[in-house]
Amino acid sequence: MINEIINMNGYGLYVWSAFTFTLVSFVSLYIVTKAHYTKEKNKFEVKFGALDPKKAEVARSQVINREILSTTNNI
């Protein structure tokens, strides 16, 4: 049964390489996208932390800024 799934009548190499390529592409795209997201989010947190209290208050008044700060790891 397992041999049949692996070999697939001699087409196993083609089938498995097509599925592997697809999954590797998915994982790579996900990792790259997540890395970009994390980088921008970290940059935002550092910049926000460096603001003086008055400016931080102004920035915090925006819902989106509060949301970015609250979503520590949302993916």
């Binding site: 799934i5 697939m8 009548n9 001699g10 087409y11 196993g12 083609y14 089938v15 390489s17 097509a18 599925f19 390529f21 697809t22 592409s25 998915f26 795209l29 996900y30 996208t33 997540k34 970009h36 997201y37 921008e40 989010k41 940059k43 935002f44 910049k47 926000f48 603001l51 400016k55 102004v58 920035a59 925006q62 819902v63 989106i64 800024n65 949301e67 970015i68 979503t71 949302n74 993916i75």
Partner: protein, 238 residues
């Protein structure tokens, strides 16, 4: 119309887009697991192509999603240009990278499928060539966002690229009917009879759903990243 645009304002939509990825991810894992089991184990082999037909379950959904994304990008870019709405351009940009990856998957898996079926990895067949041209349009679109600085110029250039690229979409779709190609005519039709058996159609639709969920996941992550980038610039201006 302004009311509709207000509903999709980044400030409001971020509340949803920032929380959605984890649910989309969970759903994607469930659907892809079912899809892979169906595609690799439960679906029958083809009487002519034997097990190599299973490549269809990644090749066809990837091609469909890639075409769908490019069409959406064109619609969004054009709408953004007509209604002067930058958010449409942002959505379009966030869709592009997954569209390109799906296009590459369709080309590579098609090439792998071509070897046992046609005896060659590559042929300058009308559909393959037009899919390659679509990949070039995706490249040009993404490069335009990288090389130009002026936003208004980027909006113009990217809209033009999508408008020229969309001419290629019906060519891809109907190339198998218009020319004598290695590809067989479409087996799945919305307006006429679908000729694929339900035992193969079901896994194909499940895999398409999984691929659509994955592109949604990547889109949400990209869109959130773009919004945070804008907010980063906003903090600089404070």
């Amino acid at each position: 119309m302004k009311f509709v645009f207000k509903l999709f304002e980044p400030n409001k939509i971020f509340l949803i887009t920032s929380r959605a990825p984890k649910y989309v991810m969970a759903l994607f894992i469930i659907v892809i697991s079912i899809g892979l089991l169906e595609a690799l184990i439960f679906s029958p082999e083809d009487y002519k192509q034997s097990h190599s037909v299973r490549i269809m379950y990644v090749h066809v959904p990837a091609a469909w999603i890639s075409l769908g994304i490019f069409s959406s990008m064109t619609f969004l870019s054009l709408s953004g240009y007509i209604f002067k709405n930058k958010n449409f351009f942002l959505i379009s940009k966030s869709l592009a990278s997954s569209g390109l990856v799906f296009n590459i998957i369709a080309l590579v898996t098609g090439s792998i499928w071509g070897k046992p079926t046609w005896g060659t990895w590559w042929a300058w067949d009308a559909r393959i060539t037009s899919m390659l041209i679509l990949a070039l349009f995706y490249f040009m679109y993404l490069i335009a966002w990288r090389i130009y600085e002026n936003k208004d110029y980027i909006f113009k250039i990217t809209t033009l690229i999508t408008l020229f690229g969309i001419i290629n979409v019906p060519i891809i779709k109907f190339s198998v009917d218009w020319w004598n190609t290695l590809h067989q005519p479409a087996s799945i039709n919305i307006l006429s009879k679908t000729t694929i058996h339900s035992s193969m159609l079901f896994p194909l639709l499940i895999m398409t759903a999984a691929f659509a969920l994955f592109s949604l996941l990547i889109f949400l992550m990209k869109y959130n990243t773009e919004l945070i980038k804008i907010k980063n610039k906003g903090l600089d201006r404070l």
